[in-house]
Amino acid sequence: MKIRNTPRRILYLYWRLYSQQLKAMLEYSADFYIMIGAAALTQITGFLFLWVVFSRIPDIQGWGLWEVAFMYAAIYVSEGVGSLFFEGTWRMLRLVNLGELDRYLVRPVPIVLQIFCTGIGMNGIGNILIGGTIIGISLSHVQMDWNLSTVLMAILLFVSAITIRIAINLAANCSSFWIRSSGNAFPIMIHNLGEFAKYPITIFSLGIQLFISIVVPFAFVSFFPAAVLFGKEPWSWWGWLGPLVAVCAVWLSLGLLRIGLGKYESAGN
């Protein structure tokens, strides 16, 4: 019998796999709170840094405190959504090195779905709460006229930004099919490129700007959406490419996963 992967079935399976992980996580409730607290603390200190810098200067290349804070928080919120719902990408190294991927290959459930649900990062809650708060305060400080079309646009950009971030995570972690090492060093390096997208990218050299716009499109997670929302010229039209970039990123990362799975040889257990 052929099983069709309808969106409804995928959502159902995702929920079932996710809730099982959640039960396992809640066994260790102390860790749960520590992770949330640590993530929140990291973000608050990050924001304090911006606040201290901006207390000495009015703006950086035309970007004020709250506009930069918005970008900063966008990076953290996207990281938080990634941790909370798609943390499994960071466990791929383990899955490949220990041959645990075998189990996934024999089940009639899309592999990528099973990978996503291999773990849950509770720190995501801290990221989303504090990041969301900072985004909310930022938007209230920046002069904008909200109407139905801007709200829809903001939602579209937000969904694209999150999608791009998760596709980058997935693609970076596919490196575990090729790099035989014991640590996550390569994906962490890609993850750290997000540092560049916490600030207006115009402060960087052209090479870095192109790199984080085209090769590893972190700029579409924070900078370009911010440019559209705050009407920063000449960057705002770039932001409209967001949804297109999201589709490409998903397509490329899934392709990379497929190639990687082709190369996968079990650990032999």
């Binding site: 260790y28 102390a30 860790d31 520590i34 992770m35 607290g37 640590a38 993530a39 603390l41 990291t42 608050i44 200190t45 990050g46 304090l48 840094f49 201290v52 810098v53 207390s55 000495r56 200067i57 950086i60 290349q61 720190n123 090492s181 014991s182 640590g183 060093a185 390569f186 962490i188 390096m189 993850h191 750290n192 490129l193 540092e195 560049f196 916490k198 600030y199 207006p200 402060i203 960087f204 050299s205 870095i208």
Partner: protein, 268 residues
């Protein structure tokens, strides 16, 4: 401490150095990953200083030097060494250490210092390369200044070790180490002056930071390296570092005696 017992710790330090070398690809990639953060900060400050001569007593040249020396200080005792302490507690191999005739705290210090040698060397190379591109960096020229920087740098590793050690011991009460690591890192980064020089802080936050041990990790060695302190003041700052080292070391010993009662090891 007798010579024989001192030798045990030297051996541990050498072992940890070899361990670091065994995983050199991960070690170097991790290092490069933190270099990305340095580049981002450098460009940010460059933009901040455009059209300004100085901010909170720092010129752009001094800020460049500040970033480089901070990176150097921070690369000592990296996540790599830190996770090896908490890892022992999480996976239960601390049991083996309990059987050995060595002190846990001293043994971990020896291992940490061992890998710090390599971390220091690698960051010297990277910083040297970076310094070629960013001219106009002023480091202490005279002998006494260099000596003071050297001592404060070494003391900074000790202060950081004491803090890291205690936060690792907290893993006796939890089942994962990431959360504690993140929380410790963000507090240390803010209050040590690694994110932004402490003089940029509003008065109350600066006073708070100066009253805590964290400033001994980055603020003290960096200010001495940049020649922003007088001779006497520099010795005084090193003295403060050592008061903290002694206090935190004793606190760490007390925490260990409490923590070890918490031990739960599944199977063997």
């Amino acid at each position: 401490m007798s010579v024989a017992s001192f030798k045990k710790y030297i051996t541990l330090a050498l072992c940890s150095m070899q361990n670091t070398l065994a995983y050199r690809l991960s070690f170097i990639l991790n290092f490069l990953a933190s270099f990305i953060g340095l580049i981002a900060m450098y460009c940010l400050w460059q933009a901040v200083y455009t059209g300004r001569d100085q901010l909170s007593g720092f010129t752009w040249e001094q800020m460049q030097a500040y970033l480089l020396v901070t990176f150097f200080v921070n690369s000592m005792l990296s996540y790599y060494s830190e996770s090896s302490i908490s890892g022992k507690i999480i996976d239960g191999s601390v049991m083996m250490d309990l059987l050995r005739p060595i002190q846990f705290q001293k043994a971990r210090l020896a291992e940490t210092l061992g890998s710090c040698v390599l971390e220091g060397l690698l960051s010297c190379i990277l910083i040297g390369t970076a310094a070629v591109f960013t001219l106009g960096i002023s480091l202490p020229q005279d002998g006494v200044g260099m000596l003071q920087f050297g001592i404060s740098m070494l003391s900074s590793i000790f202060v950081k070790f004491c803090i890291v050690y205690m936060s690792a011991l907290l893993c006796f009460w939890t089942t994962s180490s990431f959360g504690i690591y993140w929380a410790r890192t963000s507090i240390t980064n803010l209050l040590s002056g690694a994110l932004v020089p402490l003089t940029f802080f509003p008065g109350w936050l600066e006073s708070l930071a100066m009253a805590l041990p964290f400033q001994g990790i980055v603020n003290t060695p960096v200010r001495i390296a940049l020649g922003m302190t007088g001779r006497a003041e520099a010795w005084q700052m090193i003295g403060v570092q050592w008061i903290w080292i002694i206090l935190l070391w004793l606190l760490g010993r007390w925490l260990w005696s409490r923590a070890v009662r918490q031990i739960t090891i599944h199977g063997g």
